[in-house]
Symmetry: C2
Subunit: 401 residues, 2 copies
DNA sequence: GATTGTTTGTCAAGACAGTTGACGCAGATC
DNA sequence: GATCTGCGTCAACTGTCTTGACAAACAATC
């Protein structure tokens, strides 16, 4: 309804500036003639505007890529100046803060993580995160003024209405805090706040198993909690109040054990990491870790494979319902448990085929690909900034007014 | 990413034409000065373009609305010519074809239905529908050349990949048919094909319980089958291959009775109309109808209220899972069963509050409002044409070249 | 090595679209 | 009746893009 206006002549020039800049952002380096063809504009106009963009310091010209075997005069390649803007993601997990930077094209620039004791106050965690961000920026030769935006990931759902973080069972450090307001008081750049799982999902969709794939994607994050990321038509979906994607507390057994959430027989009580650990503690002892279990499963340990397979069957049944309802083009299984690979995915696919409807049975189910440790979330944050900053090209032009 | 281009000067004129026309379409009659303010363009430009649009026969000028108590010269009101375009919906249900027309602003113009025996061949149904469409057009003083598009509703899911209608248990008349191709061979206008439930959902969202409401809406259609309509950010969502919204075959009891779909204990086996009828047949006899049951329930019959209440509890539990996952801002309960009102909705809300998570517990759950008999689907079709015809203003300009 | 063909990037002239400022007009207010 | 306010239109001006022409740069061919 609120369609982009045609507007005045000054608007037209600005629109063309934005259009050419966003083509350079999206399609990478291009020469003037190609740019003219893509934009549906004459080469002369491109020349004029390219001159303006170069003058603003947003675009740079690489003298020539000669000897490329093509007829004609060598093309002079235009590209967005990498330092013209940096996007950042900060992902706060239980004990660690990860940070990641990308350039304007979404290429990773730098990433790192620092440990903060789980007992630390949220304010301390926040300061550690911002210190990390400044370190990364310094390392990349940029400052806060080069930041085009920051996305922050925290555990737990975030209410779009109040901005507060809702309760999340492990890691209550952020519960009730208005993260957006707190960060804004310390850092004056465009800001996004999401839960960890959604940021991981964004990273997987753009840089991992979902890159180049369909726009309707279901990301299934299996870790301590069970969260998901929903993409419809290529866009991250948050729900009316920001609560979309909670699948851990779907009840799969109405007579099951009581869950702290108030429901009974929740999926997470059977398929969350604590449940997996508890099931294998009799065999491996109290100190068993998820890493050890995954290793054992990979080496053929029957008990481990059995427990993980059961999780696959259970989650696969839920996945069948999700696919019936949403009919995604791709399912990406992420989270720590996804490193079990086929031991988990095999039974999950079997259950999906068994319980899903015909039209949705062909959906591809793949494991997450990114192996940045848990840094994926931070990378996803930076990517989210690039994807969701309204009119990135416009914002860049605005700064250099 | 594929943002609208700035483009050339000719493009700019066209963009401004489209912009002004879509403002008139969306905001109703406006005078030139107001239009100029809304579009961010000078009054002179509006005058010029308005002249062109009037010349094309798309816009008409109402001499004056004088004596309105306002200072200054009387404004001359511009509005889209009603006859400049008509949108149509045809909804094919088991025994009836409904048709509806709206003008370009979405205002209903005319609607009607004709009965076609359930045993009739799909081609016969199609011809009856097109005859109905021509009748409606003639009654509205238009012809097929005034049609800007038609949306056709059929029972069963439609594959975006093949265009074929999938199997739907009641009413196999369309199974395997490529409805889009068949209609196109008889009628040369832009065409949409959807399942009945989605069209009803569109009507409810724009003209019924959802008008003016949030953009994330879950429409829960309870009839013979159980279908849904999903709206994310105001847009109808179809899924990767068109199969989104199938909720009837969610399994709610893994050990339940076998369902023709291949699964066990499907929701529709407990909450579909046939199940409701079967449950009450011992009390009311073999010839019992859904109308009789609804009447009895409204008059306080315990057995009817009990059975319908059970359906509410069951569907409410499923709804809780859906709301956890999708966090809609509004749930509209439609379908024949929704006419039971609070007898159904009360238990449904109770189950939702009981089994849903905190963030999604506040969602409003309301009954569908439109009481056009089953004509809602046809109206929804016409509305769908208006909403989804890409660049309606552009298309209108294109025709009058 | 010179010639030909092709594509690029730029320049000058022209066409086109929108704005500015001024004017006449139509109603309300004093 | 005089004045004020806002609407719609005309003429002159400004800004933006395009067209057609040209030099530059590279590959292929004679």
């Amino acid at each position: 309804m609120s369609t982009p206006p045609g507007g005045s002549l000054r608007t037209l020039r600005r629109a063309n500036q934005e259009h050419l800049l966003s083509l350079l952002l999206g399609q990478g380096p291009l020469h003037r003639a190609e740019l003219a063809r893509l934009a549906g504009v004459s080469r002369t106009t491109v020349s004029t505007i390219a001159g303006e963009l170069i003058g603003l310091g947003l675009v740079a010209e690489t003298p020539a890529g000669a000897g490329s075997g093509l007829d004609g005069r060598a093309r002079e390649v235009l590209s967005v100046v990498p330092g013209a803007g940096v996007a950042a993601g900060l992902d706060f997990t239980l004990e660690t803060v990860y940070g990641h930077l990308t350039d304007l094209a979404g290429r990773p620039l730098a990433g790192a993580g620092v440990t903060v004791p789980a007992s630390a106050h949220w304010r301390e965690r926040l300061e550690a995160g911002l210190a990390l961000l400044d370190d990364l920026l310094a390392g990349a030769g940029a400052g806060r003024d080069g930041l085009i935006g920051v996305a922050v990931g925290v555990p737990g759902p975030i209410s779009l209405a109040t901005g507060q973080v809702g309760p999340s069972l492990p890691g209550q450090a952020w519960a009730g805090i208005n993260v957006a307001r707190e960060v804004r008081s310390l850092l004056d750049v465009p800001l996004f706040v999401e839960n960890n799982t959604r940021l991981e999902a964004v990273a997987e969709v753009t840089h991992g198993a979902g890159r180049g794939g369909p726009g309707d994607v279901f990301y299934f994050g299996l870790s301590s909690g069970i969260g998901t990321g929903l993409f419809f038509g290529g866009d991250l979906y948050r729900g009316d109040t920001g609560g979309a994607g909670e699948l851990g507390h779907v009840s799969i057994d109405i007579d099951g054990p009581a869950c702290p959430c108030g429901n009974r027989g929740c999926l997470v009580q059977y398929a969350g990491l604590p449940a997996v650990l508890a099931a294998l503690r009799p065999r491996f002892g109290a100190g068993v870790t998820i890493g050890a279990i995954l290793t054992a499963a990979a080496e053929g340990d029957r008990a481990c494979a059995g427990v993980i397979g059961d999780v696959g069957t259970l989650t696969g049944r839920v996945l069948a319902n999700v696919c019936n309802l949403l009919n995604p083009g791709l399912v990406i299984v992420g989270g720590e448990l996804s490193r079990a690979g086929e031991v988990l995915l095999g039974p999950m696919r079997t259950a999906l085929r068994r319980y899903g409807m015909a039209l949705t049975r062909d959906v591809r189910v793949v494991a997450a690909e990114l192996d940045l440790g848990a840094r994926a979330g931070a990378l996803g944050g930076a990517v989210l900034v690039l994807r969701e900053t309204p009119g990135l090209a416009a914002a860049l032009l605005e700064r250099r007014s």
